[in-house]
């Protein structure tokens, strides 16, 4: 006799309807009453068809319970939400992308120097990987290395028609002259090769002088500002070398930038720390008072026990506040109004496409970081680290090192993740976070599993609500590119 049981899934409700998120396919289905009753009953324990008939017989609204049961069983089995309990579970296929994998985004660390000394900085703080002060790397990338990097980027972008270059630091604008020349060179080389090159940068905002703003606006350079919120929040960790806060310096400059630079949406990138975590107040300040189009939040990357580290209960607090903001986002989106909470938007796009990741991000695959000396690393956070080097801009990508990295970091190797329903989106989380926390990039970020599952659940509910109440809103993700934000 066939005994049915559930397969990996996450059931959630939105707009008064039941939904199921399937793992590992990342498909989202809305369930009718019969299918939901079958699923809920099987979630308690495996059952035979006869036992399920009894469960469904109690329903007043299902007209022909036996026929509905058989059809619902067949459909749930067809999408692998349920299966015969003894049927073998197919192992996750371990498919390593074929090389050469086209490069989509190159992050260019044009300097490893900074005019701020934020205590929590992963590049300068207690958890830094590379000694940027006394190390062998030049403090500023030379014009020649930047040109070589552009050539490397265009060469490695394969058949892609668009290549993204993100300037990063240190404080990116400390090397503004090279940045300017690199953009001009990339435009020219891109045009010769029939490729469009897209530019963006991340800055702390301290060096946004009028001529810089003019250049960024003229050249349609996407800008992300690292800023933590209102004065008392910003000045706690984002300080100059002498300890004075940076808010009063950056706020007017950012307002100037927002006034002049209208060709691209400008976003703020907030690092959340142990301090008072008033996400909604930070969001209000940055959008309504400063005027940012979008605000994205990221918990600080740190070893446990640091003063700025978020304690375990802090993740619960953060989730509650994210949930409130996500609810605001939902109500705005139902009415087709803009809401700048970018975290939820990014996750919605991945949910809409049904992304099921073998790797947590594009690092080492479609995204690479380049250090000031032209060494190519996994991403900008590892730029300059010999242990995470994947080649040089002159010599190209070290395919053996790249393949070894992808082989070892595939989700199929992460046994901790193998039973987690959130793995299609998380896939173990940030390599750099893992390296900082556990000393190895391959380690899943177990300290924030509950937070990731909680956040994914919030986003699934927003997605379900939008699918019912304003499906047209989700259509915007059909053609949107999957370019990752750099943080």
């Amino acid at each position: 006799m066939t005994v049915w049981g559930v397969r990996e899934h996450h059931r959630f409700e939105a707009a008064g309807k039941p939904f199921v998120y399937l793992v590992p396919s990342a498909a989202i289905f809305e369930l009718d009453e019969a299918a939901d009753t079958v699923l809920q009953t099987l979630r308690e324990r495996p059952r035979t068809r006869e036992e399920l008939t009894a469960a469904l017989a109690g329903s007043d609204t299902v007209s022909d319970p036996v026929a509905a049961l058989d059809a619902a069983l067949a459909e749930l089995a067809r999408v692998q939400a349920i299966a015969e309990v003894n049927a073998p579970v197919a192992p996750t296929p371990k498919v390593i992308p074929l090389a050469p994998f086209p490069l989509t985004t190159m992050v260019l660390n044009v300097t490893n120097q900074c005019n701020l000394s934020c205590e929590y900085c992963y590049e300068y703080g207690e958890d830094k990987i590379v000694d940027t002060e006394n190390g062998r790397q030049p403090k500023f990338m030379s014009e020649q290395t930047a040109r070589d990097s552009v050539d490397f980027m265009l060469r490695e972008s394969g058949d892609n028609k668009v290549a993204h270059v993100t300037f990063f630091g240190g404080e990116t604008l400390l090397n503004f002259p090279v940045l300017q020349k690199t953009i001009a060179y990339a435009r020219q080389r891109g045009a010769e090769l029939g490729k469009q090159v897209d530019f963006s940068l991340t800055t702390n905002g301290t060096l946004l002088k009028p001529d810089v703003i003019e250049f960024l606006a003229e050249n349609q350079v996407g800008v992300t500002i690292s800023i933590d919120g209102p004065k008392e929040v910003q000045d706690k960790f984002r300080v100059f070398h002498n300890g004075t806060g940076s808010y009063d310096v950056v706020a007017p400059k950012i307002k100037e930038l927002l006034k002049r630079h209208r060709s691209r949406p400008i976003g703020a990138r907030v690092t959340l720390t142990s301090g008072k975590m008033d996400v909604k107040r930070i969001f209000r300040h940055l959008t309504e008072e400063i005027g940012f189009w979008e605000v994205g939040f990221a918990p600080v990357t740190t070893a446990p026990g640091r003063g700025h580290a978020i304690p375990d209960r802090g993740y619960d607090e953060m989730l509650a506040q994210f949930r409130d903001l996500a609810d605001e986002f939902l109500e705005a989106s139902v009415q087709n109004r803009h809401h700048g909470f970018s975290n939820v938007k990014e996750t919605l796009e991945e949910l809409h496409k049904g992304v099921s990741k073998a790797f947590p991000c594009g690092a080492g695959l479609g995204l690479l970081g380049v250090a000031t000396d032209g060494d190519v690393a996994l991403c900008h956070r590892f730029a300059g680290s010999d242990a995470h080097k994947l080649g040089t801009v002159g010599g190209g990508i070290d395919r053996d090192a790249q393949r070894a990295f992808l082989e070892s970091h595939h989700i199929a190797n992460k046994t901790d993740c193998s039973r987690c329903w959130a793995r299609p989106l998380c896939s173990g989380g940030c390599y750099h976070e893992a390296h900082t926390r556990y000393g190895e990039t391959i380690h899943p970020n177990l300290h924030y599993c509950d937070w990731i599952r909680g956040w994914t659940d919030v986003c699934l509910k927003v997605y379900g609500e939008l699918a019912v109440r304003n499906p047209a809103f989700l259509a915007q993700f059909d053609d949107a590119s999957m370019k990752e934000p750099v943080s």
């Binding site: 990342a26 498909a27 989202i28 289905f29 809305e30 009718d32 059809a71 049904g354 379900g464």
Partner: protein, 110 residues
């Protein structure tokens, strides 16, 4: 699908990829996990199944009596008939046309 509605793009792809293919055999009991591909007779337009998917004969392409010859002579399918090559060569000798003469076929005991 009637009880599940694909919401995101991946769900639509899963639905397309698991579209049931040819399902011709009579089925009772638990639903099929995999699409079922009957092979043999249906491929030569001579189905030969004893019953249609509802358990009756109305849905068959050919009269049930035709099964006799199509299944054990024209097809490799092991029909439940006597071994006409070795054991009962004359088994159907009185049955020129199965539609008319099927009653004349004798019982054969091994």
């Amino acid at each position: 699908m009637n009880h599940l509605k694909a919401v995101n793009r991946k769900a639509a792809r899963v639905e397309r990829a698991t579209e049931p293919d040819v399902v011709a055999l009579q089925r009772t009991g638990p639903p099929l996990l995999q699409p079922h591909f009957p092979i043999g007779c249906s491929l030569v337009f001579s189905p030969g199944w004893e019953a249609d998917r509802t358990g009756g004969t109305a849905g068959l392409c050919q009269p049930v009596e035709r099964d006799l010859f199509d299944c054990h002579i024209g097809c490799y399918w092991p029909a439940q008939v006597p071994d006409q090559l070795n054991h009962a060569p004359d088994w159907t000798s009185k049955c020129a046309a199965a539609q008319k003469d099927w009653r004349k076929i004798d019982l054969i005991f091994p």
